[in-house]
């Protein structure tokens, strides 16, 4: 099996889906000749033409809004928002339009589209190239929110997202684009949306994470194994709709839960996971459900030490795991 980076897996999925279905097209800023600022669409324009790999004007609302119209018409747009930090101009289109179209038309109109957006910090991106924006979307029924943490899932989930009859937000951990490598089998496969995965089994505590933080959690869990603490790591993969079954099963087994996310702590997505655990597994808990997340400052600062202060890393995660294990 060939090993590839996460961004290569994204490109491969796009390539295969463009090949498979003539209704699929890619639209976004600089996705054409430039191949996207992260090179996720590189080469696609040469293969499929400027009609299906569309360089959009610099307006996020139009990337999504035009995508919605095309999807209503039966196309399968894959919209790229260059950085998730720039998704807000498209907020009305995503929240008020894409998410509600099926419901508000009694199912007459549906919006089969994907909105890809690189997210997360640790790349010297400062306030506006580092944000984790998932929580703004995970309380919006009608959307599906997916965050892959490795190349295999990135390809399999993106292919599922393209084929999904609903609007799917696909947040890609940009720090992991080239850092995270893994084996990706050749040929057709998909990873279903809506299923979390136990990525490492353990008995002492459960850790729930997604995207870049999941990658770090696996590393921290490896460190703790050397200390005799067996951490179970669950990769949430789909944030909405959430796979509560897998989450609760893990907590019932270990009795302890740590939720790790890179976004700001308060009101973050992990709060929902913590609440679900408190509701669904209270009598199985042996410790308070804990959250480890970014601090409650507006966004990640640029300067290296300031960024490090904000950003979680395997050491900080290992410390939180140790602390909970000792409870």
């Amino acid at each position: 099996m060939p090993e590839m980076t996460l961004v290569d897996a994204v490109r491969l999925a796009l390539d295969e889906e463009l090949e498979r279905d003539p209704n699929v097209f890619v639209v976004g800023e600089d996705v054409g000749k430039r191949g996207g600022v992260f090179r996720a669409t590189v080469g696609l324009i040469d293969k499929y033409g400027a009609e299906r790999v569309i360089d959009s004007p610099l307006s996020e609302a139009s990337i999504v809004g035009v995508g919605i119209g095309a999807a209503i018409y039966g196309m399968r747009p894959v919209c790229e928002i260059q950085f998730s930090d720039f998704i807000y101009p498209a907020f009305n289109q995503i929240i008020n339009q894409a998410a509600k179209m099926c419901y508000r038309s009694g199912g007459e109109w549906t919006v089969p589209m994907v909105i890809r957006a690189p997210y997360g910090g640790g790349i010297g991106g400062g306030l506006y190239h580092s944000q984790s924006v998932e929580a703004f979307f995970t309380n919006t029924p009608g959307l599906k929110v997916v965050v892959p943490s490795n190349p295999y899932d990135a390809k399999g989930l993106l292919k599922s997202a393209v084929r999904d009859p609903n609007p799917v937000l696909f947040f890609e951990p940009k720090k992991g684009y080239r850092l995270i490598k893994g084996e990706v089998p050749e040929g057709e496969y998909t990873v279903p949306i809506g299923q979390a995965k136990v990525s490492r089994e353990g008995a002492d505590l459960s850790v729930f994470a997604y995207g870049m933080m999941h990658y770090y959690c696996l590393e921290a869990a490896g460190t703790l194994a050397g200390e005799g603490i067996n951490v179970e790591v669950v990769d949430l993969r789909t944030l909405y709709p959430v796979d509560r079954q897998t989450i609760l099963a893990s907590v019932r087994k270990t009795g302890k839960a740590l939720v790790v996310y890179e976004a700001n702590l308060t009101g973050g997505y992990g709060a929902e996971i913590a609440a679900s655990i408190a509701e669904g597994a209270f009598t199985d808990l042996d410790a308070p459900v804990r959250r480890l997340a970014g601090p409650d400052v507006p966004a990640m600062p640029y300067s290296h030490p300031l960024q490090d202060w904000f950003m979680l890393n395997p050491e900080k995660i290992a410390a939180a795991m140790r602390d909970l294990a000792a409870y």
Binding site: K100, G106, P165, N166
Partner: protein, 327 residues
């Protein structure tokens, strides 16, 4: 002019029926029988003229909330509209989920509308993009009030259409007020059609109380669009003869004298006079159609009042395309 006497009388009938239906909605609101109504009175000539210039049921339409007469030209019945007013089961726009006049009619290729203005213009551009990508000869028509041309999403939609030479017509129904704000407070140009010159497409201003002139202008735009020459921006000038909505009191921002002055240009009367001058319409015919319209509205109201409400549990679906029962 390629319109036959039959077609012209049909257009007049549509205009008349829309007017009487609209007026009845105001009465129902004042009787406390419905929660909300938003009116198109004063703009019907522009709407019917535009609708008859396209291939109804073949071309696509993204209307706005004052487009009752356009919707009736596209096949919406007074009964269906009344179902919407009362929030009754089977209402075709949204299954009674949306407020009245948030039109959608799949059988006529009318795409669902939301309340934040100008959101739908982007969808229209997206549909036009889909049409163009598939190489079809359909066109899209999308309408909006002049106040909403201040929205970024409207510019973005027009910009997209101009860049990609999309088969689409943007109709601005300038009814002189954005709720309470006169045109001078909304734009620094005399007509929103002037905005076209900055975006690279033709802009045309037409008397919106003159059904036939609107028909002509839109027809020209339609043939341009269909032949691949790209989009057109049309402003149809009219006057909103009613308050903004059932919740508004327009006496606080405009005089009765001003409204009375514009009632002389009531498009219903203007159309009557035109057709009388052409000898297509006699006094007797006018009276006959009038009683027919009242009877049709009475019947629609009686039927809608007798219709059942949706089941409360219907509110739970369909959030996702998978839940659409008839799909």
């Amino acid at each position: 002019m390629d319109l036959s006497k039959e077609t012209l009388l049909e257009m007049y009938w549509t205009l008349l029926l829309a007017r009487r239906t609209d007026e009845r909605a105001w009465a129902l609101h004042r009787q406390g029988k419905i929660a909300f109504h938003i009116s198109g009175i004063g703009q019907e000539a522009a709407q019917v003229g535009a609708a008859y210039a396209i291939k109804r049921g073949y071309d696509w339409v993204a209307p706005y909330y004052r487009d009752l007469a356009m919707m009736m030209a596209l096949g919406l019945t007074p009964y269906e509209f009344m179902l919407g007013l009362m929030g009754k089961k089977g209402e075709p726009s949204s299954g009674a989920r949306q407020m009245p006049s948030h039109f959608s009619l799949k059988r006529a290729n009318v795409v669902s509308l939301s309340s934040p203005v100008a959101s739908h213009n982007l969808h229209a551009a997206g549909i036009a993009l889909g049409i163009k990508m598939r190489g079809e000869d359909r066109i899209v028509i999308t309408s909006i009030g002049e106040g909403s041309t201040a929205q970024g999403e409207w510019y973005e939609a027009v910009n997209w259409a101009a860049i990609h030479c999309l088969p689409i017509i943007f109709i601005v129904q300038n009814n002189s007020y954005a709720i309470s704000e006169p045109i001078q407070k909304q734009m620094a140009v005399p007509s929103s059609a002037d905005k076209a010159c900055g975006l690279g497409l033709p802009g045309v201003t037409v008397d919106g109380t003159d059904m036939l002139k609107v028909y002509e202008v839109v027809q020209t735009a339609v043939s341009r669009a269909r032949s691949g020459e790209g989009p057109t921006l049309i402003e149809a000038r009219a006057y909103r003869l009613t308050p903004h909505s059932s919740d508004d009191d327009d006496r606080s921002y405009r005089s009765r004298e001003e409204v009375d002055e514009h009632k002389k240009d009531d498009p219903l009367l203007v159309t009557q006079r035109t057709l009388q001058a052409q000898k297509y319409l006699t006094k007797a015919k006018i009276d006959e159609l009038e009683s027919k319209a009242i009877a049709a509205v009475d019947q629609a109201l009686a039927d809608a009042a007798a219709a059942p409400y949706p089941e409360p549990a219907d509110a739970a679906f369909p959030v996702y395309a998978e839940e659409v029962q008839h799909a």
